[in-house]
Structure formats: structure tokens, C-alpha cells
């Protein structure tokens, strides 16, 4: 299952499109999960908020996947990449594909991811690849208010009622081990780091933990102490949940190839 990524990365200048798939897939998959709240939000304002943030993520995925397709040069545009790849060709971190859970789970995931994306995109904005830097800077502007929206809710849920606190803590306990993958790096990162195209993720860990820890403490939530999970999303090894999600996301495009409306 993993031999595809190994052979694709080596010496054929495929590190950048591979990296762009990771950036794009995180947002495509997380954006789809968030869009599942459309029509089901706990209150109308949050229904609208989650749909708007899902749209931002989809827009960011479009920019990254379009670039990936252009650099790859095999005639695949962002739609082809979104709808015609199978789950082992997706490169998102696994945390993005977990089922949306309750509103507390959704909010905690948005918060942990957005805080990571805020630091990652901030470092990526100075990329030696000017186009990638520009797209990262654009996405960063939106990510700022994604962090604000989710952190305000983490505070309300964590420091709210006994029930909201219990659910928020349970969500955090379940999500926390998946955050390790956000800092996982391989030869793709190494090659691009040497070229000044992508940042080293390791120095971003401490500021991310500080931001996350500050909000969680104010929300009276306890940081789990357990170990991080081993996970292989960046190499195309996913949980059972991604395939089910893609089946729903891709069925219209695959049932009616090339359809326009």
C-alpha cells in the first residue's frame, strides 16, 4: 500500500506536488467533514459559521490542489484530484477524516487543527516558492478567524455546564493522540526544507502547544498525558472512516463524469 508514495517521491521532482496534496487534502477532507453540519448545526448562527468555514477550507484546498496538478503536469485539475483518487492516494492527516462526532468533537478538532495551520501557514508564507507563499498568506488570513471562532467555543464548552465540559474533555482525550501526525515529517519535507520551500515543523511544536495549552487551561480542560498514535495518513494509510466519507463525496462526480450544471 505504501510503495506508491516511496517510488513517486524519489528523484523525480515530485516532492512539491506531494507536499501540495498533503496541504490540499487536509483541507478538502476536514472541510467536507465540517460541511456535514450544514442544516444540522446546534443553532442557526453556528450552522452558518461552520458552513462558511467549510467553504474557506474548500477554497484553500482548491488553491493547493490546483497547484499540485499544474506542477505534476499530467493534466489533472483540482476536481480530478478531489473526485478521482481513491483513499490510499489521499495524503491528509488522519485527524481530518475522523467522523464529525458531536458539536464538541467538531469544535475541538477545528481548534487543534486551526492552531496548527496558523503556525504552519505563517512559516510557509515566506516560502522560496513565491506562488506557494502567496497562497499560504492568503489562507493564513482566514485561518486567523478560524482559530478565533473555535477557541471561543472551546472556552464556552469547556467552562460551561457539567455536560458540555464532560463532552469537550472526552473529545479532547480522543483527538489529542492524533495531533502527533501534524508534526510528522519525511523525505518530502526534508527535500523541500533544504530548498527553502517548506518550513521545518519541529520548531512550530512549542508555540502550537503554548497556544493550545493557554486556551485549554482557560477552558478548564485537562491536557491528556498519553502517547501519540502511530498514523500513516501522509503516506496514504488511513482509518476505515475515509473510504466511507469519499464514497459519499465522490459518488455524484463518478456517476456522471464530466457533468456540468
Amino acid at each position: 500500500m505504501s510503495q506508491d508514495s516511496g517510488s513517486r517521491i524519489e528523484g523525480r521532482g515530485t516532492a512539491l506536488p506531494e507536499y501540495l496534496l498533503r496541504l490540499g487534502d487536509d483541507r478538502l477532507v476536514l472541510g467536507h467533514r465540517l460541511s456535514e453540519w450544514c442544516g444540522h448545526g446546534p443553532v442557526l448562527e453556528e450552522d452558518i459559521a461552520t458552513a462558511n468555514i467549510a467553504l474557506d477550507l474548500l477554497g484553500q484546498a482548491t488553491m493547493f490542489l490546483r497547484m499540485a496538478g499544474q506542477i505534476e503536469g499530467q493534466g489533472r485539475d483540482e476536481d480530478a484530484l478531489a473526485y478521482w483518487r481513491d483513499e490510499n492516494q489521499f495524503r491528509n492527516a488522519s485527524i481530518a477524516e475522523l467522523p464529525r462526532g458531536d458539536f464538541g468533537f467538531t469544535i475541538l478538532r477545528q481548534f487543534l487543527f486551526s492552531a496548527w495551520a496558523f503556525h504552519h501557514l505563517g512559516a510557509l508564507a515566506t516560502s522560496a516558492n513565491a506562488e506557494l507563499g502567496a497562497v499560504a498568506a492568503k489562507a493564513l488570513k482566514e485561518t486567523r478567524y478560524h482559530v478565533r471562532h473555535s477557541s471561543e467555543w472551546v472556552l464556552r464548552l469547556g467552562d460551561g455546564t457539567a455536560e458540555s465540559h464532560r463532552r469537550a474533555q472526552a473529545a479532547l482525550d480522543e483527538l489529542w493522540p492524533w495531533t502527533g501526525e501534524l508534526f510528522w515529517q519525511d523525505e518530502v519535507d526534508a527535500e523541500l526544507r533544504t530548498a527553502g520551500v517548506a518550513p521545518d515543523l519541529e520548531p512550530l511544536r512549542a508555540p502550537w502547544e503554548a497556544m493550545v495549552g493557554d486556551v485549554l487551561a482557560r477552558a478548564t480542560l485537562t491536557l491528556p498525558a498519553g502517547p501519540m498514535r502511530m498514523s500513516g495518513g501522509r503516506r496514504g494509510r488511513h482509518t476505515e472512516h475515509l473510504g466511507h466519507m469519499l464514497a459519499e463525496m465522490q459518488i455524484v462526480a463518478r456517476s456522471h463524469p464530466g457533468a456540468k450544471w
Partner: protein
């Protein structure tokens, strides 16, 4: 000659409105960054407002059809991401048009405190009665660019074009 056709293209683009905010043109909105005319061919460089803005596709189509209808034979659309779009590009007359239409115009962009957690939210004046006695209902409105507010003086709900 070239200046004339450049001005003519810009004039045409100033008639292409944002489908969600039909008092502002794509030029006033700052979406159109550059216009280059070469003979009967025109190249328009645009930048997206929000990366997921669904109105962008409509604007691209409207730009193309308006220029074709205006006598240009070929329209090339280019997208540019840097510098990232900001509401600071909106002129004062454009802001006044928004207010007259019933949407509170954006203030100037300050680097918002990232995680305000209980900090006060910037005051937005009611576009109908001018009162500052308003509260934020939701940071997210019908489109990404607008938030929802209520005026306690005239008891009107209203939209605010967010500073971004």
C-alpha cells in the same frame, strides 16, 4: 488609442457588480487588480476575496461576457494571490454606497487580537440610523464577508461588511 481602450475596458468592468453586493463593482471591490489591452484582446488580472467565495465564479463569467459584449474579441482572465485581498482597498465612495444600501461598511483593518476570549468587540454603527448602540449577533453571515448585528436604537438587524 491604447489609453482609450484601457479606459473603455475599465468602464465596462465598473458595470460588473458583485452578485452578492450589487451596489459595488468588481473594480470598487478591489477584485480587479490590472487590466491590459492589446488590440481587441484584454487581459484582466483578478484576486479572490475569500478563497472559498462562491460569487467569484459568477464574477469571472460576468467579467468575460461584459467585455465580449463591449466589443473586445478575446478576454483572458488571470488569478493572482499576492498581495492578498483586503477591504482596505475599498474607496470611501464605495464604502458610502455600501452604507446607503444598508450594509455597514468595513472599518480599517487592525490586526485583531487572535484569541480575544471575552475582549470587547469593535463597535459597528447602524447603517440605518447611525447609532453605535449595536451588538454582534454572529461573526458569520449569509456570505463569508459579512457579519450579523442588531441595532438597539432602531431595532433593526443589519449586516456588516467585515474588515478583512
Amino acid at each position: 488609442m491604447r489609453e482609450n481602450s484601457q479606459a473603455r475596458a475599465l468602464g465596462i468592468l465598473d458595470t460588473v457588480k458583485d452578485p452578492e453586493v450589487p451596489v459595488l463593482s468588481v473594480v470598487e471591490l478591489g477584485v480587479v487588480r490590472r487590466v491590459e489591452v492589446s488590440g481587441t484582446e484584454v487581459t484582466v488580472t483578478i484576486t479572490p476575496t475569500y478563497s472559498g467565495c462562491p460569487a467569484l465564479h459568477a464574477m469571472e463569467q460576468d467579467i468575460e461576457s461584459a467585455l465580449l459584449a463591449g466589443g473586445f474579441e478575446r478576454v483572458i482572465l488571470k488569478t493572482e494571490y499576492a498581495p492578498a485581498w483586503t477591504t482596505d482597498w475599498m474607496s470611501d465612495p464605495a464604502r458610502e454606497k455600501l452604507r446607503a444600501y444598508g450594509i455597514a461598511p468595513p472599518g480599517h483593518v487592525a490586526i485583531d487580537q487572535l484569541i480575544p476570549l471575552g475582549a470587547t468587540v469593535r463597535t459597528v454603527s447602524c447603517p440605518f440610523c447611525g447609532s453605535a448602540n449595536t451588538t454582534l449577533e454572529s461573526e458569520f453571515g449569509p456570505t463569508s464577508c459579512k457579519s450579523l448585528h442588531i441595532c438597539h436604537a432602531c431595532r433593526q438587524p443589519f449586516e456588516h461588511f467585515k474588515a478583512f
